[in-house]
């Protein structure tokens, strides 16, 4: 006999019984034990059809191919650089993935990326040992100059970006601050001190209330009240 013991968007805790019956399928954050589907992570339950998964509300970042991250150059290697991803796994960027321009054999790698440089990069490969390769070739991937970095919870990054970038777009509209968000839980902001302070506060508010409904409207109201500028939750344009 099949039955669902929890609803979509319920807050679940490890060990919670989600469903009974072989027709249900486990996914990320749930597992099958006999004919039961059980949660194995703290988060919000998502039930789509017969598939049960848990959207995490906490937890460190796990590298995934295709993700855009923010990293810091931390070592020069023979044919590339080691990139610190602010997590338990670091990455390697090969010379051939650094830029579309030609880099000659004897080139001084430190002149292209120096120790301490902050970059946005994309994951191109993850091995079973969690060794990560990143690339800077791609739209929007670049060295980030100036500004400052804020550490956020990796699980909250999708909310900070918003649908099609609507959250970061609103923050930029209100303050003029440039924002880059890495899936690894790092956010780079660059603007006036006053603008950056508002953005930092907004990002904290999004993290604190990520699990509550009506977040987009709340953030719109917050930004308008703080800056007196009208904002719209539209998609980010290419230049933002």
């Amino acid at each position: 006999m099949e039955s669902l013991h929890a609803k979509d968007k319920d807050l679940v805790v490890p060990g919670d019984l989600i469903a009974t019956g072989m027709g249900f399928l486990p996914s990320k954050g749930t597992y099958r034990d006999g004919d039961k589907i059980i949660a194995n992570r703290l988060g919000l339950l998502s039930i789509e059809g017969k598939v049960a998964k848990v959207v995490p509300l906490s937890g460190n970042y796990t590298p995934k191919v295709g993700d855009k991250l923010i990293g810091r150059i931390e070592d020069l290697l023979f044919s590339g650089w080691r990139v610190n991803l602010y997590g338990p796994y670091s990455a390697v960027m090969n010379v051939k993935d650094a830029t579309s321009e030609f880099i000659g054999r004897g080139a001084n790698l430190a002149e292209i990326f120096a120790l301490g440089d902050i970059v946005t990069c994309k994951i191109v490969n993850v091995t079973s040992q969690k060794l990560v390769d990143v690339s800077l070739k791609g739209p929007g991937l670049r060295k980030l100059k100036g500004g400052r970095l804020i550490k956020v919870m990796a699980a909250k990054v999708p909310r900070i970006i918003g649908k099609d970038g609507s959250m970061t777009s609103m923050m930029n509209q209100a303050t003029g601050v440039n924002i880059a968000v890495g899936m690894n839980g790092m956010v780079w902001i660059d603007g006036t001190p006053e603008g950056e302070i508002v953005v930092a506060e907004t990002i904290q508010k999004i993290q604190d209330e990520a699990h509550l409904p009506g977040l987009t409207d709340k953030i719109k109201a917050f930004l308008e009240q703080k800056t007196g500028k009208k904002v719209e939750p539209r998609a980010m344009t290419e230049s933002e």
């Binding site: 319920d10 807050l11 805790v13 490890p14 060990g15 919670d16 019984l17 954050g29 597992y31 034990d33 059980i38 194995n40 992570r41 703290l42 988060g43 995490p56 509300l57 906490s58 937890g59 460190n60 796990t62 997590g87 338990p88 796994y89 079973s128 040992q129 969690k130 699980a155 699990h211 509550l212």
Partner: protein, 237 residues
């Protein structure tokens, strides 16, 4: 003399009053505080993170590392000198073994999940409070766990099986009757045990009785742990 009424009037399977809260150390990846009677345990989780020294890294799986520490002013009498010692190291180890069965760390090769348990005040049942707080902190940190784990000390005091012995009960040995102090930890879904130790003396049937009581009490504690985890996010069910 048979122990028919507990010193503080509790029922035999009743625990002391419990409070539990999650997310109390913002810098940690996960954290929790668990107080039972006058024993309070604070647990903080950092990880998965890179493991140092490198030679300890395991390329096949992440490892769990637990540290138990009584704060200098937490002892029943005199000050406790900092530095742990053998008792603390052993408790760290049994804590690791109590939590390991619900964790699958194969997704985190070469990493460590560090659990730090500190106690600002103690009154018996310390390792159990530590394990219970640690399980909440691990869930708070978003670590994958098959089930929760809760722990409590059960025992035999002058012939009566009781749960959650306090300091006076632990010390209540006479010349003819012993006291058995049995810390246990259970996973509620399977009803399986992950911690079992004993100091004292007990018969085989009494042990079985004590373990059954421990299982039921741990299930009740898990309900409190889950409520604390939900409360952090404003959930109520």
């Amino acid at each position: 003399m048979p122990y028919l009424k507990r010193f503080d009037g509790r029922k035999f399977d009743e625990t002391r009053p419990i409070t539990a809260k999650v997310g109390i150390i913002p810098r940690a990846d996960g954290s929790a505080i668990f107080q039972i009677g006058n024993t309070t345990a604070i647990a903080a989780v950092y990880g998965p993170r890179e493991l140092h020294p490198k030679w300890m890294q395991n390329p096949n799986t992440g490892i769990l590392r637990c540290e138990y520490n009584m704060l200098p002013f937490s002892g029943h009498g005199e000050r406790v000198r900092p530095g742990g010692g053998r008792r603390a190291r052993e408790i760290g180890m049994v804590t690791e073994n109590a939590l390991r069965p619900v964790l699958d760390l194969k997704e985190y090769p070469n990493c460590v999940v560090d659990v730090y348990i500190d106690l600002p005040q103690t009154d018996a049942g310390t390792r159990c409070a530590g394990i219970t707080a640690a399980a909440m902190a691990l869930a708070d940190a978003g670590i994958e766990m098959k089930d929760m784990v809760a722990a409590v000390a059960v025992g035999n005091v002058q012939g009566s099986i009781v749960a959650d012995l306090n300091y006076d009960e632990e010390q209540n040995k006479t010349e003819t009757e012993g006291v058995a102090d049995i810390p246990v930890a259970f996973m509620p879904n399977s009803g399986k045990l992950t911690l079992l130790q004993m100091d004292g003396e007990i018969t085989r049937p009494h042990l079985k009785q004590a373990l059954e009581m421990g299982k039921e009490v741990c299930k009740r504690i898990v309900a409190i742990q889950k409520a604390a985890l939900r409360a952090k996010y404003g959930g109520s069910q």
